[in-house]
Amino acid sequence: MNTATPEFAVAADDAWIQSSCSLCYGSCSILAHRVDGVVVKIEGNPDSVVGKGKLCGKGVAGIMTHYDPNRLTKPLRRTNPKKGLGEDPGWKEISWDEALGEIADVLRKVRQDDPRKLVVQRTTTVTAGRTPFQTFAAAFGTPNFSVSGGGQHCGNGAHLISGIMHASWSVVPDFAYCNYAIYFGASKGHAAGHASCSNMGLAADARARGMKMVVVDPMANFAGAKATEWVPLRVGTDAALALSMAHVIVNELDMVDGPYLQARTNCPYLIGPDKRYVRDPESKKPLVWDTVANAARPFSEVAAADMALEGEFFANGFQCEPAFAKLKAHLLKFTPEWAESISTVPAKNIRRLAKEFATEARIGSTIMVDGVTLPYRPVAAVAFRGNQGHMNSTYNFFAVDLLNQLVGAADVVGSCMGFNPASKGFPETGRPHYVPTPDADGLMVTGMWMGYHYPYPPSEPRLPKNLGLQDLFVMGMTSPFLNSIDQEELWQTFEVPYRPEVLMNFGSNLMMAIGNSEVVAKSLERYKFIFSFDLFLTETSQFADIVLPDASYLQSTDSRSNFPFIFSLPGGMGEWCWPIRQEVVPLDGEQRRFAEVLLELADRVGMRADLNAAYNASMNLQAPYRLEGDHAYTYPEICDLELKGNFGPQRGLEWFKEHGLIKWKKQPEEVYWRPFVDVRVPVYWEFMVSMWEKINAICEPRGVNIPQEYYDPLPDFLPCRSHQCQKPGFDFYAFYYRDTIHTNSFTMENPWLDEAAELDPFSYYVAIHAEVGKKKGLRDGQSVWVESESGRKVKGRIRLTQAVHPEGLGIAACAGHWGKGMPVAKGKGVFFNELLELDFAHVSPNNLNLDLCVKVRVTPVEA
């Protein structure tokens, strides 16, 4: 703490305030040092589990974002009715009363007409924005809620499948015990993201302890830089490699954890010729083959050890096989030789990696943690955004997790695990309490989720009523169709009965966040009215009718700066921790806090009772700490109720303002809940069969082709569109990766971070392989055009490097701002998303994830 600074000794106001960071969604706990009303330092809060007293470069640099003179201080109204790229809105300062009056008029009308015409969109950066905006949307009555980027920044595949298989938002190695981790396009512990600072520490401890880390990635920056072994591969071919490893483990080595597969997966479930479970005619429960009774019986009536994993049987009138047998046969085609031809990873390396992984898993072993004996599988295969940001989004992620499942390395000691999927709650109140539960088929339903629909069981595909079509493509979470070029065509095809008219935007810079700016601009121009809560004027707020000056995180209070506890609390043993955010300094000018503005808007629209009810539901507020009727609670009052409801009447907002957070010890049964909770995870995704049939039944009559191979119950390698590009000269797979020093497009405006990125050899450059570049006559530092097959192009400077796959072209972060509202960011780095097409053809027909790799060519910029 910089308390020692001599000149502070005489300050009248000298306080350290416990709060939460908001430079990324990690929301690490901070201590903000305020001297005479000025924030002079931000440090990690050593008392907290979230960040553990440390901060990344972004976190400590938050001061400069807060004090940015380019921040908005007054509501603005556009005077130029024409919207478009390059149109000057002609901003005019207006009063809050005028601004909210006009917005409320618009909202009231649209709510009366059809509330679904309101689209609510928020940035992912501010986790605390999630509940207020989602709650407002629910109260208003619109299902059209979207996070910025439509899955582009993280991934529909990663989150949904982490939910299906590990009951949490993401997966990490159990760093404290893991001995061998394979990362597929993930950087957990080496850069930004969920529990980022905590994970950095945990991963470093693991490396120091000797954990071997294999990093499968087209580029060796961040995680790759710290790898014991870097495995470069052709962009987007992760599934080929992972499936081949699975093949080696199952068919060549036979090193699977049979008892685990029997007891905790659907591997023993009998599969009929129609690819579905063979069910008991009476109970409708899936059947397994009981090797003792030598008969097919409902899974719930057979001891796991007696369930057959292999063999052909006749049950309920069908020839059938256990799911595991299906998987085993399915894997046969993924030989290492085949995988080498797809991924460029040598076959002998694939065999070696598979063997190392299966051997290190120590199948069958146990370990004692805090006095409790637990299964011990110290290996983890983890994936994240890079892996699943492709057409093959679902299978790329599923295939990697299959490795964990085969050796039983799922949510046990040392294995691949979800972040805190089971919590018994604060000991005095038992809240928040959640734990995965089995559905009727015995499969796992997560106990806590960010969206209010859980990842499993999937909802029924229907003729869509959501603008993003996620209610048709039910494996999708966020959707690119709110902005795609073919959105109107899709809405007509699927008879969506209304069109979006009003956009409520919270801090999202969508123009840069999802795809090429031309198409996004068109989608924004179609709105009749846009209002936006912003810190700065972004490229997106240029399309707004009214811009509202938001408070910074150092000026805000939130009872949940984070999401409990599957989002940014580190996994593994340790402590549970619920930190809050509180204001460190007052508002400047006429800035206001978004959560409070939303309450006033609800009053002006006349929907306070709905909002109260929605808050009760979204925060799980129970009597006597629930919101009653249409009483006009202030936001701090709502925060107070939530905290008291969770932690007892004596621990309201005032208590938390003083203490900053509350924490209590995790128990081994919570962290390693798997042996204690009788749920199975699907290794065979039977639900995909009927899902495709239902989706296809809606799509086919409307002329929309949904390839069935995207809905097979077992994972496959399906190429990206870029893999099919034959155009001569287009010989690089361009991909985007997250920079440790930047969060989306937001931090580009922070001059300290900009400065650090300027010093970095890669942040603002286009990385290509040195020899390939030289062969093309390209020089390090040279300005080039990177051009997609369809002619979209961005300018950037070349960085020749050995640390990238020869066919890869890596671009960091969400850079390349062009607007005047963020002058530090303007012109910095490379705008990768400009290369991306935004249409149905470029998204996964399974989970709507936009493909992030593009085949490009590189040409020098003419002098």
Binding site: V38, K54, I63, Y67, A204, D205, A208, W230, A756
Partner: protein, 200 residues
Amino acid sequence: MRYGMVIDLKRCIGCYGCQLSCKAENGTPPGVFFARVLKQEEGTYPTVNMLFLPVLCNHCEDPACVDACPTGASFIWEDGIVDIDPDKCVGCRSCMMACPYGNRYINDKPQHYYAQGQTAFERLRTGRHQTEVVMKCNFCRDRVKAGEDPACVANCPTSARIFGDLEDSSSIVSRLIKERAGFTLHPEMATRPCVYYLPT
């Protein structure tokens, strides 16, 4: 007593946390970095290592900068910290030419990050630095005197930086240097740096 630092290159992930926390602690002006992170790739594809090398003033036992300084502005405290007395510095920059580690900077005129001028933070924290003098890391000596670690050490998310007494053979820094073959940068310069690195 001789303060020193150990930087574990196996732990460091090049997150720039040290560089930025130093900036926040010391309010250094644009282009001035008491702590920095360098990146260098080693090897050829596919056996490539990306090395993250955090650098700062090495607080040498035989500092070239102190020898080169004509005014005595650069000096060594009794605890081994090499420091600059800004009141004595004439701004000749001889020390910058002498330091083999490139970790000295001239604060040549009042500077600020935003075109609009100094922020409230910069007025308070950057404004206190004298201009036209050379500046550098002093291991956050005010913090150290108060019993805290330097800001970069306290903040490092991977605990890659450890601070302590090199003369005390039982200190963690001394032990780590011994056990893990800690090395210094440019030993041939005979400056005897007090910042050690542990190999990756």
